[in-house]
C-alpha cells in the first residue's frame, strides 16, 4: 500500500518566462506533468533549468506566464503563493539538512501541524523507507554523504507534498555512490507514487530516473519527450549532439527519399526539406558498422578501448570524420584503413 494518499497532482507550466533584473533567462516554457510521473530538466550548466525549478518551488517570481498545481494557480506575474504554502517538497544539491537538529527532528521539520504520535510514526515510516531506521537520534554530521541525501529525501517527502522537486540531488556524491543511489531513489519515488521534477546535467541520471525529459538550452525547452524519443528522435541538432555521441554529415537532398553525403547515398524520408537543399545528417556511432567487405573505406585516426567494444574515429576520403563501434576483438592500428557500412533505421536531418 502506498504511504501517500492518491493525489491528482498535475503540474502545468504555461508560457513561463523568468528574469533576473532586466535579463530574461527562461523563455516561454510550457510543460505538463501528470500525476505520479517523474520528469527531468536536463541541460548544460547555465541553461536556466535550476532557475525554472526554483520558480516552481516559489523562490523565483515569474516575469510572465503561470504555474499551477492540481488546478490551483501557484505563480503568475501578478501573484506568488509563498513556498511554505505550496505543498511542494524540495531536495537540494547541497543537502541543506539542519545541522542543529537530530535526524528525527530534521525529518519531522515539515510536520509541525501533525499530532505527536502521527508525527513519530511518519518519521519511522520514512526512515524505514530510505533504509535508515534506527538513525533517529544521530546528527547530520555523523552521516555519510549518501545517507545525508537519503535523509534530505525523507524530509522532503514527509509532509506528503503534491510535488517533489530535486535540484541536482546527486551531483555532490562520488560516482560509485551515485550509481548506487540513483536507482534506489527512483524505486522509492515510484513505490510511493510521487510526482517529481528533477534537475540534472547528467543524462545517465535523467535516463535512470525520468519518465519524461525536458532538454533545455539558453533558457528554452528544446524537446519534451521520453528518454527513448529524445535519444532516437531528437527534435533539434542541439538535442542530438547533447544526448549521447554522434557526428553531423553535410548532405544534399536528392529527392523525398534520398540524401547525398560524403559516405554515399543515404535512404530515408526527407519530409519538409526541398530538393537540392543543404542538410545536416546526424549519425550515431552504433549506426556505423565495421565491415571488411564494404567498399566504403576510412582511415583510423584514433581509437579507444572500452572493454566491450572499440570506439574508432575514422576519416573518410573527403576529410569527414565518423565514430564507429566495433567488436572488442577487432583490434586495428591507427593509420590503417577499414571498411565501414552505415545501418540507419531512419534519417535524422537538421536544416
Amino acid at each position: 500500500m502506498s504511504i501517500l494518499a492518491q493525489q491528482s497532482a498535475h503540474l502545468q507550466l504555461r508560457d513561463v518566462c523568468l528574469a533576473y533584473g532586466h535579463q530574461q533567462v527562461v523563455h516561454h516554457v510550457d510543460l505538463d506533468l501528470n500525476n505520479q510521473e517523474i520528469a527531468c530538466l536536463l541541460g548544460p550548466s547555465g541553461c536556466g533549468k535550476s532557475t525554472l525549478l526554483r520558480a516552481v518551488a516559489g523562490f523565483q517570481p515569474l516575469a510572465n506566464g503561470t504555474i499551477s498545481l492540481d488546478g490551483k494557480l501557484l505563480s503568475s506575474d501578478q501573484q506568488v503563493v509563498p513556498p511554505e504554502a505550496r505543498q511542494v517538497g524540495m531536495v537540494f544539491q547541497d543537502v541543506a539538512l539542519f545541522p542543529h537538529l537530530s535526524i528525527a527532528d530534521n525529518v519531522a521539520f515539515g510536520l509541525q501541524n501533525w499530532k505527536r504520535r502521527e508525527r513519530k510514526a511518519r518519521v519511522q515510516q520514512l526512515l524505514a523507507l530510505v533504509d535508515l531506521a534506527g538513525y533517529e537520534q544521530r546528527y547530520p554530521h555523523e552521516l555519510s554523504g549518501g545517507q545525508q541525501q537519503r535523509i534530505a529525501l525523507a524530509r522532503a517527502m514527509a509532509p506528503k507534498p503534491q510535488l517533489l522537486l530535486m535540484d541536482e540531488p546527486f551531483s555532490g556524491l562520488d560516482a560509485m555512490l551515485r550509481e548506487e543511489l540513483v536507482p534506489e531513489v527512483a524505486t522509492v519515488l515510484k513505490q510511493e507514487g510521487i510526482t517529481a521534477l528533477l534537475v540534472t546535467h547528467d543524462q545517465n541520471e535523467a535516463f535512470a530516473m525520468a519518465d519524461l525529459i525536458a532538454v533545455m538550452r539558453h533558457g528554452s525547452v528544446e524537446q519534451w519527450n521520453t528518454a527513448y524519443n529524445i535519444y532516437h528522435r531528437p527534435a533539434t541538432a542541439f538535442v542530438a549532439d547533447f544526448i549521447g555521441e554522434g557526428d553531423f554529415l553535410v548532405g544534399t537532398v536528392v529527392d523525398a527519399q534520398q540524401v547525398e553525403t560524403a559516405v554515399g547515398l543515404l535512404r530515408g524520408p526527407c519530409d519538409g526539406y526541398a530538393v537540392d537543399s543543404q542538410v545536416q545528417v546526424f549519425i550515431r556511432p552504433d549506426d556505423v558498422l565495421h565491415d571488411d567487405a564494404s567498399s566504403l573505406q576510412g582511415r583510423i585516426v584514433s581509437k579507444r578501448f572500452r572493454g566491450t567494444h572499440f570506439l574508432y574515429r575514422v576519416e573518410m576520403s573527403g576529410g569527414q570524420q565518423l565514430s564507429c563501434f566495433t567488436d572488442s576483438h577487432h583490434d586495428h592500428q591507427i593509420g590503417e584503413n577499414i571498411g565501414i557500412k552505415l545501418n540507419l533505421d531512419h534519417l535524422l536531418l537538421f536544416g
Binding site: 518551488a57 516559489g58 517538497g89 524540495m90 539542519f98 509541525q112 509532509p159
Partner: protein
C-alpha cells in the same frame, strides 16, 4: 526572507553612515579646518611622530616575529615536554592590555622595584653606580607591545602550519631537502601570507596604542593627536595628524586584506593527512620548552603574579570605590555589547537579504572602524556631538528655558557611539561567520517544508546563531572593558571605569594601587581567550 521590507534597507544605510561619521569629520577638518599651530610647528612635530612611530612599528614587528614564529612552529610541528599546555598558554598574553603590562614592568624594573633592589643588595652598589636599562623608553615600549601582541602572529602562523599538507613537505624531502631545509624553504614561505596578515594586525594595534606610549613618554601619533587636541586645542592640527595616521592604517589594512586573500590560495592541503610531528628529545626538547616558555612567562605569568601580589598584599584600593568602578565598567560594557551586536546583526542580515553592491560596500566600509585608533574615533565622535549639543542648547535657551547641559557629548551616548564605531567589525565578523554557516538552501528547505519567515528565524536562525552571537557579545564586552583612550576622552564627568582608574593611578606613580583594577581586567579578558582556544580545538562539526 523579508524581501519587501524597505525600511530595513534605509535603517542599514543610516547606521552605516553614522559609523562612518567620525572618520568623515576628521577628514573634513583636516582639509578645511584652520590650524593655529602653523605649518612649521606641525612639520617639526610630524617629523618626530613619524620617525618614532616607524621605529616603534619596526621594533614591534621584529620582536613579535622572534617571539611568535619559533613558538608557532614548535608547538604545531614538533613534540616535546610541555608542548600541549604551552600551545594554549602562549595565547594568554592576548588578555593583557599593553598599558597594564607597561605599568607592571615599570613597577618590577624601576629603581625601587624588586629587581634593582635585589641587584643592589647582592652587589652592594648604590644609586648611579651601575647601568640598568630604562623601561620607560621607546625600546621599552617595543618590548611591552611585542609581549602582548605576538599571539596574533602566533595564531595565524600556527593555523597556516597546521593546514600545510604533509604532501608538499614530503615532495620537498623526496627532492633532497632535509627536515630543516624543508622548514626554511617550504613551510615558512608557504606560511608567509598568513604571517603577514597577523603582522598587519599587530602593527595596527601598535599604531592605535595610547596607554603604553603615553606612560613611557614616547611621542608617537596617538600621543601627538592627544596633545594637539587637549594641549593646543587645535582641531585642524589634530585632524591633520589623524589623517596622516589614517594613511598608515589604510596601508596596513590593505596589506592585511591582500595577505589574507593570498593565504587562502596558499593553503594547499588536499588531504586530512597531517605531518607526523618531529620528536624532540632530551636537550633539544628542553630547548624547545624554554623557547616556548619565554613569551608566555614574560607576557603573562610574571606580570600576573606581580599584579596579584600587589593587589592581594600591598594595595589598599579594595574598597567601596573599587566596586562602584567595577559596576560602571560592567554595565557600560554590557550596554555596549548589546548595542554593537544588535547593529552587527542588522548589517549582517541586510547584507544577506540584499546582496547588492551598495549594501555590501556600506557594510564593508563600516568594518574599517577596527583599524582606527581609539583616539581618532573619540575625537571624531566628540566634534559632531559637541556641535549638536550647542545647537540643542541654543535652541532650548531660545525658547526661554535654561540650558539642559551636554546631552550627547557629555553622556554615555558619546561613549556608546565610539564603541560602536570601534568594535562593530569584531562583532560583524563573528555574526557573519554564524550567518554564513546557514546556507541559503537551508532557508529554502525550511520554507518548502511549510515555515514562514518568522518560523525560520525562530526554529533555524536563532538556535544556529546562538553561539556566535554569544561569542560576539563576549568579545565586545571584553574589548570595551580593556579600551582606554576613547573612554578617557569621552567618559562623562565623574564617571570612572576600571581601565581609566588604573591609568590614573599609574600616572600618579601609584602602581601598587592600580593593581586591583588591572588584575580584574586581565582576569575577565582571559575568558574570550579561553573560548577562542576551545573553538580552535573543536573539530568543525558542521560541514
Amino acid at each position: 526572507m523579508f524581501k519587501h521590507i524597505n525600511w530595513f534597507n534605509s535603517a542599514t544605510v543610516i547606521v552605516a553612515l553614522f559609523l562612518l561619521l567620525p572618520v568623515m569629520v576628521m577628514l573634513y577638518q583636516a582639509i578645511l579646518g584652520d590650524s593655529e599651530l602653523g605649518l612649521h610647528m606641525l612639520r617639526v612635530l610630524l617629523a618626530e611622530y613619524v620617525s618614532n612611530s616607524l621605529l616603534l612599528l619596526l621594533g614591534v614587528a621584529v620582536g613579535v616575529l622572534m617571539l611568535a614564529l619559533p613558538a608557532a612552529w614548535l608547538t604545531s610541528m614538533c613534540r616535546f615536554p610541555g608542548q600541549t599546555w604551552l600551545a594554549w598558554a602562549l595565547l594568554l598574553p592576548m588578555a593583557m592590555p599593553a598599558y597594564i603590562i607597561a605599568y607592571t614592568y615599570t613597577g618590577i624594573l624601576d629603581f625601587a622595584g624588586p629587581v634593582q633592589s635585589f641587584i643592589r643588595d647582592w652587589t652592594g652598589l648604590g644609586y648611579g653606580d651601575y647601568w640598568f636599562p630604562e623601561v620607560r623608553s621607546l625600546g621599552g615600549a617595543v618590548v611591552m607591545l611585542s609581549l602582548v601582541l605576538y599571539p596574533y602572529v602566533y595564531l595565524m602562523a600556527r593555523a597556516a602550519f597546521a593546514q600545510q599538507s604533509v604532501t608538499s613537505l614530503e615532495v620537498g624531502r623526496s627532492l633532497g631537502y632535509s627536515q630543516w631545509q624543508a622548514l626554511f624553504f617550504l613551510a615558512m614561505p608557504m606560511a608567509r601570507p598568513a604571517i603577514a596578515a597577523g603582522l598587519a594586525l599587530v602593527m595596527m594595534e601598535t599604531l592605535a596604542d595610547y596607554g603604553t606610549v603615553q606612560y613611557f613618554g614616547v611621542s608617537v601619533f596617538t600621543t601627538g593627536i592627544f596633545r594637539a587636541f587637549y594641549g593646543y586645542g587645535d582641531t585642524a592640527a589634530t585632524a591633520q595628524l589623524a589623517t596622516v595616521l589614517l594613511v598608515f592604517v589604510v596601508a596596513l589594512l590593505a596589506m592585511e586584506r591582500l595577505s589574507r586573500r593570498r593565504a587562502k590560495y596558499h593553503s594547499v592541503a588536499t588531504t586530512d593527512k597531517r605531518a607526523e610531528p618531529i620528536e624532540l628529545t632530551a636537550g633539544k626538547g628542553w630547548l624547545a620548552f624554554v623557547l616556548c616558555l619565554i613569551p608566555f612567562a614574560l607576557g603573562f605569568l610574571i606580570p600576573v603574579l606581580q599584579l596579584t601580589y600587589w593587589a592581594v598584599f600591598e594595595s589598599n584600593e579594595w574598597n567601596w570605590d573599587f566596586f562602584s568602578l567595577a559596576w560602571n565598567s560592567f554595565y557600560l560594557a554590557c550596554l555596549a555589547a548589546l548595542l554593537v551586536v544588535a547593529l552587527a546583526l542588522l548589517l549582517a542580515y541586510a547584507r544577506r537579504i540584499e546582496p547588492g553592491q551598495p549594501v555590501k560596500g556600506v557594510v564593508a566600509m563600516a568594518g574599517f572602524g577596527y583599524a582606527m585608533p581609539g583616539t581618532i574615533i573619540a575625537i571624531g565622535v566628540l566634534l559632531p556631538l559637541a556641535w549638536m549639543d550647542q545647537q540643542i542648547i541654543s535652541w532650548i535657551q531660545g525658547l526661554g528655558w535654561s540650558s539642559p547641559g551636554l546631552l550627547l557629548s557629555g553622556s554615555l551616548v558619546a561613549l556608546l557611539f565610539a564603541y560602536s564605531v570601534r568594535f562593530i567589525a569584531v562583532a560583524l565578523s563573528s555574526v557573519r561567520a554564524g550567518l554564513d554557516s546557514i546556507k541559503p538552501s537551508v532557508d529554502y528547505a525550511g520554507r518548502s517544508l511549510g515555515h514562514g519567515p518568522w518560523g525560520l528565524l525562530r526554529r533555524i536562525h536563532v538556535p544556529m546563531m546562538r553561539s556566535t552571537v554569544l561569542t560576539a557579545l563576549l568579545i565586545v564586552f571584553v574589548d570595551v572593558l580593556k579600551e582606554l583612550p576613547a573612554t578617557l576622552i569621552l567618559r562623562p564627568f565623574n564617571f570612572n571605569t576600571l581601565a581609566v582608574r588604573a591609568y590614573e593611578l599609574a600616572a600618579d606613580e601609584r602602581l601598587v594601587d592600580a593593581a586591583p583594577a588591572s588584575i580584574t581586567i586581565v582576569m575577565v579578558a582571559l575568558i574570550p581567550v579561553l573560548v577562542l582556544h576551545r573553538a580552535m580545538n573543536k573539530r568543525p562539526k558542521q560541514n
